[in-house]
Structures are given as structure tokens and as C-alpha cells.
């Protein structure tokens, strides 16, 4: 093996740093470090001549490791690393530190101390650089196809975008018809237009203009090239990993041949079986062979296998003019190979029977908003008439109750977010059709936060809809008058009201769609506390999940109105396309690696890995060892911080590298103050230090910063080693506990720090010598303050004298 030759490049930032740091001393110090083959000082190294110096040194084989002390560490690192790579050096053999923001600026009041610290920082970088190992790039192929689960508006919009972009797309819908909840809703607020309207695919150049939006049935949705629609189907198994999923779909028989049915309706006229129509709020009956409403998609009848008499009857078979009815169809298993999956399973209306005091399960004239929507719909079971289901008389006194089972800690604590607007829409539609109707909305808070939504509320008041601020305590049916009585306090009047109603409508909570939990388990993705699918990051990755290549959109993440759903769907399509377009995942092998010889199969690491990247594989008879998936591993080191036998290492942060760095940082003091090692995560923790320096906040130079991938990598023994190496205090600086870039790293670090403090106390070492801090970039002042406080605290405590430690 070739000798390791370190090149050290010292930037004085246009002579700015020289006014504080003694560069001659630094150069002399660095020159004496074994392994250093080249020391160069210049004004800057991240561009122009400076960068060329580095490139030439690499090309001329003068050096095999690069240490650059430069300001603008993040930007300069990108430039230097790229140049080094182009010059033929593995990019992981470059170490960049920031002598400006981490040393000169924050210690400008004590220049000689700053110089001593700079020596330690350089030594640490050199010692680490000597131990660095090249890391290779990995490529994982991706199948360029996508499965969209759910055929509501979110799923359709996403699928259409993807297919339009030339990606082979499958859409799987569990019910026999597309459209989801939206088709039952009839109209959308705040425009009152048709719910079944979607954006038309751009691929149809003949009929589609830029402004086209069309009903589902005339959108040409089924005709988009690359799009395969599977209705009456559900996902039953998902295997494989990112980029290459094998999905098993169960397609239930429709018993009607989709390519033969002409939708003539003769079959329903002869079908002898009639059952309450769930789709239409049980307000009418439907046959065993049916379509939900006219103009559904696909426009093909389906047989309800739970009620059909099949061959005992077979009247539909006889009458069908195209021989489309096939009573012997069987369910099929279809296997799809896809690179990506988009979950668009939406949400559903909660059964409000749980709120017993409203008697939804007992009183037929208590209905839900979605059931009311069917009544209002001209295609619906009552042809638009608002009736009392108990006797089918017209209902003219209507009370709508908001937040039923929603914002209710007994059931669903969240605000379902769209019910206020739905109720306003229904109230206005009723009022426009029947101006004499008396419509009252009982509410806790009216939430009309969307664009134009407040005007909608205003219009409702204009139309004479009554609003009672108060949540009813009970609905009582008075057998004498056959009226429903709603007990409610009007809080504004402070008056207890007994509202009489023909019909009471419950704005029932919107809850995760049935099967959400099973699907999440199958896909290995998380749910939030309310049971909806959890996005990776609500602000930055609103359609992504922790599983690369699995995306979310629409109401599957939370109840959404149509515009937001659409926005979300298009965004998911973009992210999925971006993921698939490269045809491969390119990733550095900046990952954890297990040393099988030492792994004892304690199975602690797989449960701590936030990415599900660690599995156990059989090794010999009845023995297992952990194995890391390079594809899924994000390189945080939380597993390293867990492993009780140190059988796991990160390729880019080996224990020997960290140890060498740590020892070097405390090898030089020169400040007369107690040495403090600040172990900062490479994300928020380190950038908080950057920002304190950038803002020239002052803190003492005895504070030495050591960058680690994530504080989750730190083990308790690292703290002990630090004290043994001469640190008088240790600060662990990580992300906020709920803002950790690796999800759980800083929480785990916090717990390790807490336990280590208990341990230190037993060792007779003051626990306050070890502190955990959680910071974000903008809290640089907090870092400076914490560093000062720690220094003062340690000065008060006096020197830590570890005895008998040789």
C-alpha cells in the first residue's frame, strides 16, 4: 500500500484570518505532524488558483489525502470534493474544516488562544484524514413503472400525470368503480361544480385543450397510453425493495365482461334481487347486478356476489344482448413489477353511532353529511328531494351538527378540516332548492380557512341559514310529535335551546380509509398518531415516505378538500417521476457495515434503525447475524450507537477515525480554561455552531467542536473516553428531539446522555460535566451561550482528576 501523504491547504480568507490567527505558527505546527507531505497557505482554496493548487497536488501524486481549512465550509466542501474527484481522488479522502466560523471569528478577542485551538483543529483533521477510506458509489436499478393505490381523485390525478409522462402506470381501486368519495359527494365547495370533474390527460391531442377539465366519464381517462386500470382489486402483498417491488393484486370477479357490456340496463330490469343501496345511503334499493349511478367509470355493470343467486336465477345471462354476463368468473391474482408506489387511499366518513347521545343507529332521521349529499344529488335516490327517511315525507326543519366524533378526544381528536365547508355547501344547496326550509348549523368553531371559503360562509348567512354556537348534548326523539329534539346551548345568548327538527345531519369525522393499517404494514411505512399515513416531512417532503420510492397523496395523509388533494396528487406524481426517471438509484456506500465475526444477534440494531435497513440473516445452524441494506441505509450511525459489541461501523465515520479526531482536539489547550469537547451532529448541531461563528458571537476557545454524522451514533463509552483523553466537559449538540434529520437520533442521544449522567455520578464525576443540547441553525446564540455557561460551570467545579487511569 502506498504511503499516506496528507496535503494541508490553509486559507486565510483574503488575509482576514491572519489578523487573528498566527499562520506561521500553524504552518510550522502542521509541518511537524507525521504524514503531512504538503502545506500550502493561500487566500482561498474553493475556486480559481487555490482549487488548482489542490488539483495539481493530487494529479502530481504529491498527496493522497486532502485537508482544507476554508471558510464557507458547506459550499467550499462541495467544490473541493468535486475537484478532487475529477483529479482522480476518492471524494471521501477529503476533510474540510472551517477555521473562520469555528475558530477565528468566535475567538477574535483572544487571538493567541484561537491559534492554539486552530492547531488542535488542524491536527484533528489531519489525524482523521490519515484514517479515511475511499467509499464507492453504488447503483441500484429501478423498474420504470408505478402502482397507484386508490382510484379517487387523488389517485386518478396522480396516475394521469405519471402515465402522461410516459411511465407505465397501474391504478388499483378496491371498489368496482372509480371516483372514490368524491363521486358520492356530488358537488364540491366553494364552486358547487361537479365532483366528478377531473383534469383531462394531455396525451389526447385531438380533443384536449390546455383548459380542458372534464367529467370522469368523458375525460378519456381509460384511454391514456401506459395507464392500466384495475377496479374491484386490492393489494394483498408487497415484496422487494426500493425501485423493484413485486406487488400481488387480487382482482375480484365482476361477473360482467368489461369488453362486452354495453350498459343497456336490461339486466337490472330482470334481476329479482333488491337490496338497500349503501352507496345511496340506503334510501333506495338496488339490484344484485348494478351500477352506482349513471356515468360511473368504468360504465360496466357489476354483480354483488353476496346477494346474487347466480345459476339459480341467471335471468341477466339470458337477457344480456351481448352475452357479457359471465357468472363463472373467478378472482384472479395479478403480479405487478413496479419501481414505485403511490398511496392514494383517501379517507372515509366515520360511523357516528359511536357518539351514542346522537342515536344515529337508532333514529332513521339522523343521517350523515355524506348521506345528505346523496339526497341532494339529482342522480341520487330521492332525485334531489330532502326527506325524512323514516316516512319519506319532505324534511323542512333541518339541523346540522358539526364535529361529530371529530375534535372529540373520546374518538378522533383531530379537526377533520373539511366538514364546515361541506355543511355550508349542503345548507346552501337545500336553501336554494327550498327557500322555505329552516336550516340550522350547530358548531363549535366555523373553520373556513381556504381561499374564498369565508365568502361562502358569508353567503350562507345571507341566505338565512341559522348558526348556533354550541355543541348539542343530545338528540331526543319525541314519540308524540315524531320530531327530533336537539338539546343545545346557544353560547352567545347563554340560552339552552331545544331545536325541533325533521332531519338531523351529522357532520361526522373523516377518518383513515379502511385497511390503512394493513396497507401501511405491507408497505413498511408509518402512520401518524391519528392513523393516517405519515409523510416524511410535512414541509419539505409532503408526498414522500421514509421508504424511498413510496409516495403518498390526497386524503390518505389527512382529510383534504378537492383543490388540496389535486395539488398533493400532482406533487406526488412529480416526485415519483423524479425518482423513476434516472432508471437507477445512485448512492454512495456511506453506510453501516456489520462485522459478522462479532455480531451476536442481540437484535437491538434492527429495532433502532429508523429506516428498516437492518435485517437478520441466517448464518450457520440456528444462528443469525445482522445485515445492512446499502440501499436503505442513510448512514446515521444510530445502529453503531446501539451495538453492545461494536460489531457495526459506519464506513465514513469509523471508531478509529472518531477517536483520533477526539484525542487530537484535546491534545492542545493553550487557553488556561477547562477543555470542552462539543460533539455536534452534522446537521442542526454543527450548523448552529456555524451560525454562531458567522454572527461573530464570542465564546471561549477551550470549546472544541467534533462533527459526528448524528448524535445517535454516540455511545456512552465515547463520553468516558473524552474525559479520559483530557476533556473536562462534554457537550452533545444535536437536532431538536422532534426535528432530528435521522428521526430518532437526538432522542436516543438524549437518553444515553441521561443514563451516562447517572453513571458518572456513581463514578464520582459531576454529572453536569456532560450536557445535551438541542439546537437548530438559527440558535447559534444558544450555542455560544451554552459554551460560555459550560466553561464557567467547569471552572467552578475545578479540574477533573481521574485517578489510576493509565
Amino acid at each position: 500500500m502506498n504511503e499516506t501523504k496528507v496535503g494541508v491547504f490553509l486559507s486565510d480568507c483574503g488575509n482576514q484570518l491572519s489578523q487573528i490567527l498566527d499562520f506561521d505558527a500553524l504552518v510550522n505546527h502542521v509541518k511537524q505532524v507525521p504524514g503531512v507531505a504538503l502545506v500550502v497557505k493561500a487566500s482561498e482554496f474553493w475556486r480559481g488558483e487555490g482549487l488548482k493548487t489542490i488539483v495539481d497536488a493530487i494529479k502530481g501524486k504529491k498527496i493522497s489525502r486532502v485537508v482544507v481549512a476554508e471558510s464557507l465550509p458547506k459550499l467550499s466542501e462541495i467544490r473541493v470534493v468535486k475537484a478532487a474527484e475529477e483529479a482522480g481522488l476518492n471524494p471521501y479522502l477529503v476533510e474540510v474544516i472551517d477555521l473562520k466560523d469555528h475558530c477565528a471569528w468566535p475567538h477574535r478577542d483572544t487571538p493567541s488562544e484561537a491559534t492554539e485551538k486552530a492547531k488542535a483543529m488542524l491536527l484533528a483533521a489531519i489525524e482523521r484524514a490519515k484514517l479515511l477510506e475511499p467509499i464507492e458509489k453504488l447503483e441500484f436499478p429501478i423498474t420504470k413503472s408505478v402502482l397507484v393505490i386508490g382510484g379517487g381523485i387523488a389517485g386518478m390525478q396522480t396516475a394521469e400525470d405519471l402515465a402522461d409522462l410516459g411511465i407505465k402506470t397501474y391504478i388499483v381501486e378496491k371498489s368496482p368503480f372509480l371516483g372514490g368519495l368524491a363521486t358520492r359527494a356530488g358537488r364540491f365547495f366553494p364552486t358547487d361544480d361537479c365532483a366528478i370533474c377531473i383534469q383531462s390527460p394531455a396525451s389526447d391531442v385531438k380533443t384536449i385543450t390546455h383548459t380542458s377539465r372534464k367529467c370522469v366519464y368523458r375525460s378519456g381517462f381509460t384511454e391514456i397510453p401506459n395507464l392500466n386500470i384495475l377496479t374491484n382489486s386490492r393489494v394483498i402483498a408487497v415484496e422487494g425493495a426500493t425501485g423493484n417491488y413485486k406487488v400481488t393484486i387480487e382482482k375480484k370477479p365482476r361477473y360482467v365482461n368489461e369488453s362486452k357490456c354495453v350498459g343497456c340496463d336490461l339486466c337490472t330490469t330482470v334481476c329479482p334481487v333488491a337490496v338497500p343501496d349503501e352507496y345511496n345511503a340506503k334510501l333506495k334499493k338496488r339490484k344484485a347486478i348494478y351500477m352506482n349511478v349513471p356515468n360511473v367509470h368504468p360504465p360496466v355493470y357489476v354483480i354483488d356476489e353476496n346477494v346474487c343467486k347466480f345459476h339459480d336465477c341467471a335471468k341477466c345471462v339470458e337477457i344480456c344482448p351481448t352475452k357479457a354476463v359471465e357468472l363463472d368468473q373467478k378472482s384472479e391474482r395479478i403480479t405487478l413489477n413496479v419501481g414505485s408506489i403511490v398511496v392514494a387511499t383517501g379517507f372515509q366518513e366515520c360511523d357516528p353511532s359511536i357518539v351514542k347521545e346522537y342515536h344515529y343507529d337508532e333514529y332513521p332521521d339522523v343521517i350523515t353529511n355524506l348521506e345528505l349529499a346523496r339526497m341532494i344529488d339529482g342522480f341520487g335516490p330521492t332525485s334531489g328531494e330532502i326527506i325524512k327517511p323514516s316516512n319519506r315525507e319532505p324534511a323542512r326543519r333541518i339541523v346540522i351538527i358539526q364535529c361529530v366524533g371529530s375534535r372529540d378526544r373520546r374518538w378522533n381528536p383531530w379537526c377533520s378540516s373539511i366538514c364546515c365547508m361541506i355543511s355550508l355547501k349542503h345548507a346552501m344547496l337545500i336553501k336554494s332548492a327550498h327557500p322555505e326550509a329552516d336550516v340550522t348549523i350547530c358548531y363549535i368553531d366555523i373553520r373556513t380557512t381556504g381561499r374564498e371559503h369565508e365568502y361562502y360562509y358569508e353567503r350562507a348567512r345571507e341566505m338565512g341559514i341559522k348558526f348556533v354556537k354550541g355543541r348539542p348534548s343530545e338528540i331526543v326523539h319525541d314519540p308524540e310529535t315524531d320530531m327530533l329534539i336537539v338539546d343545545v346551548e346557544d353560547e352567545i345568548l347563554r340560552r339552552l335551546l331545544e331545536l325541533e327538527a325533521d332531519l338531523v345531519v351529522l357532520a361526522s369525522a373523516m377518518v383513515p380509509a379502511e385497511g390503512t393499517k394493513d396497507l401501511a404494514d405491507m408497505l413498511g411505512i408509518e402512520l401518524d398518531q391519528d392513523g393516517f399515513f405519515k409523510e416524511y416531512n410535512a414541509k419539505l417532503r409532503p408526498t414522500e415516505t421514509k421508504r424511498r420510492g413510496i409516495f403518498l397523496c390526497g386524503g390518505a395523509t389527512f382529510p383534504k378538500d378537492a383543490p388540496t388533494t389535486s395539488l398533493h396528487a400532482h406533487s406526488a406524481a412529480m416526485k415519483a417521476t423524479k425518482f423513476l426517471s434516472a432508471g437507477k438509484v445512485v448512492k454512495d456506500q456511506k453506510t453501516a457495515v456489520i462485522n459478522e465475526e462479532y455480531c451476536g444477534d442481540c437484535e437491538f440494531c434492527p429495532v433502532t434503525c429508523p429506516y428498516g435497513a437492518i435485517s437478520l440473516v441466517p448464518k450457520g445452524e440456528e444462528h443469525f447475524v445482522a445485515e445492512v441494506s446499502d440501499l436503505l441505509c442513510e448512514g446515521c450511525g444510530i445502529c453503531v450507537g446501539t451495538c453492545p459489541v461494536n460489531a457495526i461501523e459506519l464506513r465514513h465515520a469509523r471508531p478509529n477515525q472518531m477517536s483520533a479526531q477526539m484525542k487530537a482536539l484535546v491534545s492542545v489547550n493553550g487557553t488556561g480554561k477547562p477543555l470542552i469537547l462539543a460533539m455536534c451532529c452534522s446537521e442542526c448541531g454543527h450548523t448552529a455552531v456555524d451560525s454562531s461563528g458567522m454572527a461573530m458571537m464570542q465564546y471561549p476557545a477551550n470549546v472544541r467542536v467534533m462533527k459526528v454524522p448524528c448524535t445517535g451514533i454516540l455511545q456512552v463509552h465515547v463520553f468516558l473516553e473524552a474525559f479520559k483523553a483530557g476533556a473536562q466537559g462534554v457537550m452533545v449538540v444535536g437536532c431538536k428531539s422532534d426535528g432530528c434529520h435521522y428521526e430518532v437520533g437526538s432522542q436516543k442521544a438524549q437518553k444515553k446522555v441521561e443514563l451516562a449522567k447517572i453513571l458518572l455520578n456513581e463514578y464520582g464525576v459531576e454529572p453536569e460535566r456532560l450536557m445535551m443540547h438541542n439546537m437548530v441553525f438559527i440558535e447559534g446564540a444558544d450555542f455560544a451561550e451554552a459554551a460560555k455557561t459550560m466553561t464557567e460551570r467547569l471552572e467552578k467545579l475545578g479540574s477533573l482528576q481521574l485517578t489510576d487511569v493509565s
Partner: protein
């Protein structure tokens, strides 16, 4: 072929390691067939001066059990090092300090105070404590100096091989003896225990490992199947070197860690603490840890990073 010369010695130890040597049963006959035992205070009457008289490196292998607690322990360790070609740290005391190492939470003064004055069973009206020398009418009596800190053998002299355990597992002892007889030895510095942890040998099933509280063994109804960690009981198995065949977990006792740390671990207690903190679901679990040193460093305090308590 000339017979091998071997020696056994106990320093600060309980004697269990000596028993363990005999627990190899008939294998001991193979040993004595091939080797002469030249020094074994517990079994044969050979004095220190006899050892001092032996030529340097004349003992082929010395199996040294016990920690270094007194001046005598240290002196004999050095003596045996000189006289032996191969020195084996035998058992947890020699390797890691073992239970004796827990004395490092005190020093000589506090230990004497407790042992000779304070314990309920002590009656010591004349306030007698051990002295290194005392004159009696028969002459001068000497006792070895009692040190403040318990050390491991390797912290005192250069050690060739290690075999930990309290006592070392019989199968590993047999392996050691066979290695010596056959001359087939691993590289210097090796241990005769496997490189993996107890979990590798433990038949218990591991599940979610999500620790919501800490329970003592008497607080659970052990199902004999599930990993103790999944039953909320602290078990040192994950941080302890294998070799014993998970004897304790197999009979309803969580591992207490006598095998010492894994080969790549500098601090057994800290390693277990890190792992435990990483799987604790809630910070309140951490607060439930009492006596962390007694729990996590029962056998390895003297061989840990900090080694002893700072006493001001």
C-alpha cells in the same frame, strides 16, 4: 519428549476458578499425563522461594486467576511473569477485576472503615486494622500492602492469553488445556472465549425490544422463551462475551455479564448502557436504573475506561 511444566496461581479471587480446573473431570488426567504441575498453592506445597529459584521462562504456562488487590498479588504476578513462557489471565478476576473490582468505588481507607468498624457483625473494640508490619513478642509479622485500587492482571504485567468467565466455561478450559498440550495456540493476546455475545448462544426469542419500564426478575412470570429484554428485564447477554452456552438465561436467570466485554469493546457497562438507552421508549425508563455500576459493571469495573471512582 520432556513433560511440559505448568503452574496455577490465585491472587485476589474466591477460589471458584480453582474448582473449575477440577471440573474438567477426567481431562485433568490428560493434562497431568503431558505436564508436570510445578506450582499450585491450593494443591501442592511449593513455596514462593522455590518459584524464585526457578530459572526464568522455565514454566511453560502459568494460569493466573484472581485480581491484583495487594502488594503480594502484584509481586507474585511479576514473579510468575518472569518465570513463565506463557501467562494466562484465567477467569473474570484476572481478566476484568470481577466482583472485587467493585471495591474501586471506595479506597483502602473507606474499605477498612467499613470492614473493620462498621459492619453489623464486626466487634472490634481495640480498633485493630491490618498493618503491613507489627511487632509481637515472637518477632516481626508482615502483611502485604492493601492497595486503593483493584487492578487486572494485564494492568500489572504483560499477559499472553485471556480466558474470562466467573468461572471460565468448562468447555473453554478444556480447549485451553488441549491447546497447550498440542502446542496449537492462537496469536498472543487472544481470548479463549468466542468473539460473539451471549445472545448468539441464547435460545430465547427476540421480539420488539421496546423497553417501557424496568422490571426485576421476580416481578415477571418468565415464560422461558422470550428474551429478557422483551420482558423488561435487564440482561447483560448482549454486551457479554459468549462461551458459557448462555447457561444462566437457559435456567431463568438473566446474564449478569461474567464473560466480560466483547473483543472490540473497551467498556462493557457503557456498551450495555448505550444499547439499553437506544431501545428505551421513554426517558422515564432511564430514571428507573438504580445502581448502574452494580448492574452493568458487576465483573468489569476494574477493566473499564474510568476503572474507579474519583474520591476527593
Amino acid at each position: 519428549m520432556e513433560k511440559l511444566k505448568i503452574a496455577f496461581y490465585w491472587a485476589a479471587s474466591c477460589g471458584g476458578c480453582e474448582i473449575a480446573v477440577l471440573d474438567v473431570n477426567e481431562k485433568i488426567l490428560d493434562v497431568v499425563a503431558k505436564a508436570d504441575i510445578v506450582f499450585w498453592p491450593v494443591a501442592i506445597d511449593i513455596k514462593y522461594k522455590d518459584v524464585e529459584a526457578m530459572p526464568d521462562k522455565s514454566i511453560d504456562a502459568c494460569f493466573f486467576n484472581g485480581a491484583i488487590r495487594t502488594e503480594e498479588n502484584e509481586r507474585i504476578a511479576k514473579l510468575l511473569r518472569e518465570k513463565s513462557k506463557i501467562l494466562v489471565a484465567f477467569g473474570s478476576c484476572a481478566c476484568d477485576g470481577c466482583v472485587k473490582g467493585l471495591a474501586n468505588l471506595w479506597n483502602k481507607e473507606t474499605i477498612f472503615q467499613r470492614a473493620y468498624f462498621e459492619t453489623p457483625s464486626t466487634k472490634n473494640p481495640e480498633l485493630v486494622t491490618p498493618q503491613t508490619s507489627v511487632s509481637v513478642k515472637e518477632g516481626e509479622l508482615e502483611l502485604p500492602e492493601f492497595y486503593d485500587t483493584v487492578k487486572t492482571l494485564a494492568q500489572t504485567v504483560d499477559v499472553d492469553y485471556f480466558i474470562s468467565g466467573c468461572p471460565p466455561p468448562i468447555s473453554c478450559i478444556i480447549q485451553v488445556f488441549e491447546g497447550f498440550i498440542s502446542g496449537n495456540l492462537p496469536p498472543k493476546g487472544s481470548s479463549f472465549l468466542p468473539n460473539k455475545s451471549i445472545c448468539d448462544e441464547c435460545p430465547r426469542e427476540k421480539k420488539e425490544h421496546s423497553i417501557t419500564e424496568i422490571k426485576r426478575i421476580y416481578e415477571i412470570e418468565d415464560d422461558f422463551k422470550t428474551c429478557f429484554w422483551d420482558q423488561q428485564v435487564i440482561c447483560m447477554g448482549p454486551a457479554t462475551r459468549a462461551g458459557c452456552g448462555a447457561q444462566c438465561p437457559k435456567v431463568n436467570i438473566p446474564c449478569t455479564g461474567c464473560g466480560g466485554p466483547g473483543p472490540r469493546v473497551a467498556d462493557q457497562g457503557a456498551a450495555m448502557i448505550s444499547a439499553m438507552a437506544s431501545i428505551a421508549t421513554d426517558p422515564s425508563v432511564i430514571e428507573q436504573v438504580v445502581d448502574p455500576i452494580g448492574t452493568f459493571y458487576k465483573y468489569s469495573l476494574a477493566n473499564s475506561i474510568l476503572r474507579r471512582k474519583v474520591i476527593k
